[in-house]
Amino acid sequence: MAAVASSPAAYGGASFLGLLVRRKTVLFGAIILIVVVAAALLSPWIAPYAPAKLSLANRLKPPSAQHLFGTDDFGRDVFSRVIVAGRTSLTVGFSVVIVSTVLGVILGLLAGFFRRLDGPIARVIDAMMAFPDILLAISLVAALGPSASNVILALGIVYAPRLARIIRASTLVIRELPYVEAARALGVSTPRIMANHVLRNLASPILVQGTFIFANAMLAEAGLSFLGVGVAPSTPTWGTMISQGRQFMDSAGWIMMFPGLAVVLSVLSLQLVGDGLRDMLDPRLSKDL
């Protein structure tokens, strides 16, 4: 500690500065994210057309004043569909975060805190990690059937071990820290130590990981839909829209381009925000800047 104290980083404000340097990009990310989320949440009110309304006379119209993002092969308004699809895509991403966090936290805490459980859980985590994410998700979705909830479950299972591993590792570290020893010396119960000391200190890594899982899950959802093993195609998500728009890639590129852009922007904004959060919350990394 004495060494840290004499290093320049300790001269105050370094972690704050870390964020300052990146503030413009983090700010940019946060703004996009807010816009995307707001558009998705408010879609029933701001969508100019009913997203499922067929109008075959209006097929494949390029972007115009009436149809900002053009129309698709059923004559549906792409703009309306993009913002409505955002609801599902974001819900899928967010739910994956919830599922994997709950699973990951439980597994990671148990493994990190109880030596006897550590071996078996660590092995299962290792085994699950051995499956490439898309591969495992494909197999699970194929097994469970293509629906939004199954995609959520599958991706949740896919990302849970990654989170569990991080949580386990941090728990192992935190478990040995003096403040946990102090709590044990005081006779604080194990569940309370887990909640007060371990979980509370894991909140920020979990939050940071959560944003990355969110981003990855949205990419994975798009990939699964592209491979035809994602959310049921009747449910509009950005992934299914890209997948369906692909056949019009040359003739009516807008059908695929706008949901694609929505994916890229949302994933990018999540990563920017996640990175910013990490800089702010992880003192080890923040001293880099």
Partner: protein, 313 residues
């Protein structure tokens, strides 16, 4: 040392056993009937039932599990239902494009990520660093299939530099086959380079702050030598892990990329096996890839024994 290696090997076996069980379970709960797919749309129910018996699909699940595990112990991954050949053969036939795709894309990814990541860490906070970090993040935000489609559209269809898909015909030279791999490898390499850049940067940042780097500088050594000899060698240990893991995980990217580029590799085999309900192939491929991952991990651990003198237990 021997004890350590032995322990690791036992660990690997346990993990592989769990992997095999997970694979079996996943595949068995999958709805859809391979027999119906094989026989085509006009097949009768009786035909399908016959085929199910021939394929052993009528056996109780635990019996199928025992057969499956027994087969694994003999190194037998089973027989592909659809392709009518051993799964191992089917995988072997498709290994080449996937192998080269993986190798090339990891090489491309490293060729981009190492210099850029090192420089970005070295000049942290600079305009270069910020541009690189943002670009890396952007390219990690682009779905790889999208990037692949754009490449095909531009380089293959518009410019005609590369074939749009496939892996060459019979008798095509090795060079021609590699020509088919350029676009997929670049796509996959680019997407993965983003991840490696971030990792290289972070590891280098960690290492550049280490005391022995300062010691090296205090010797009066040039910066290039300080960074490339003293810092990089230390950063390389975690970087190696990530490159190793990325290599294993590239298979995942290969699934999408091979599908986009119509490469007859393991990835597209898996996708088609899923639509064909070719259980043994899905099983086998999942297992082989997971095993590869575990083994690469193991190899990296063993590599540590060589690279890092501190790991000597």
């Amino acid at each position: 040392m021997a004890r350590y290696i032995l322990n690791r090997i036992i660990g690997v076996i346990v993990v592989l056993f769990i992997v095999a069980t997970v694979v079996f379970v996943i595949v068995r709960v999958t709805p859809g009937d391979p027999a119906a797919v094989m026989l085509g749309p006009d097949a009768t129910a009786a035909d399908i039932a016959d085929l199910r018996i021939r394929l052993g699909l009528n056996q109780p699940i635990p019996v199928q599990y025992l057969y499956f595990m027994g087969g694994l112990l003999r190194g037998d991954l089973g027989q592909s239902i659809f392709l009518n050949e051993p799964v191992l053969t089917a995988l072997g036939q498709r290994a080449e494009p996937t192998f080269f795709l993986t190798i090339f894309s990891i090489l491309i990814a490293c060729a981009i990520a190492l210099p850029v990541g090192i420089l970005s860490a070295y000049k942290r906070g600079s305009v270069f660093d910020q541009v690189v970090t943002t670009l890396a993040m952007l390219s990690a935000s682009i779905p790889s299939f999208w990037l692949g489609l754009v490449f095909i559209e531009f380089f293959a269809v518009k410019l005609g530099w590369f074939p749009t898909s496939g892996y060459g015909g019979p008798g095509d030279s090795f060079l021609s086959r590699m020509h088919h791999l350029v676009q997929p490898a670049v796509t996959l390499g680019l997407v993965n380079s983003a991840l490696i850049i971030r990792f290289v940067r972070a590891s280098m940042l960690d290492v550049l702050g280490d005391d022995y780097v300062r010691t090296a500088r205090s010797k009066g050594m040039g910066e290039a030598r300080v960074v490339l000899k003293h810092a990089l060698k230390n950063a390389l240990i975690p970087i190696l892990t990530v490159i190793g893991l990325t290599t294993a995980l590239l298979i995942s990217g290969a699934i999408v990329t091979e599908t986009v580029f119509g490469l007859p590799g393991v990835g597209s085999l898996i996708v088609s096996a899923v639509t064909r309900r070719d259980y043994p192939v899905i099983q086998g491929a999942l297992l082989v890839i997971a095993a590869l991952y575990v083994l690469i991990n193991f190899a990296i651990d063993m590599l540590y024994l060589v690279v890092d003198p501190r790991v000597s237990y």
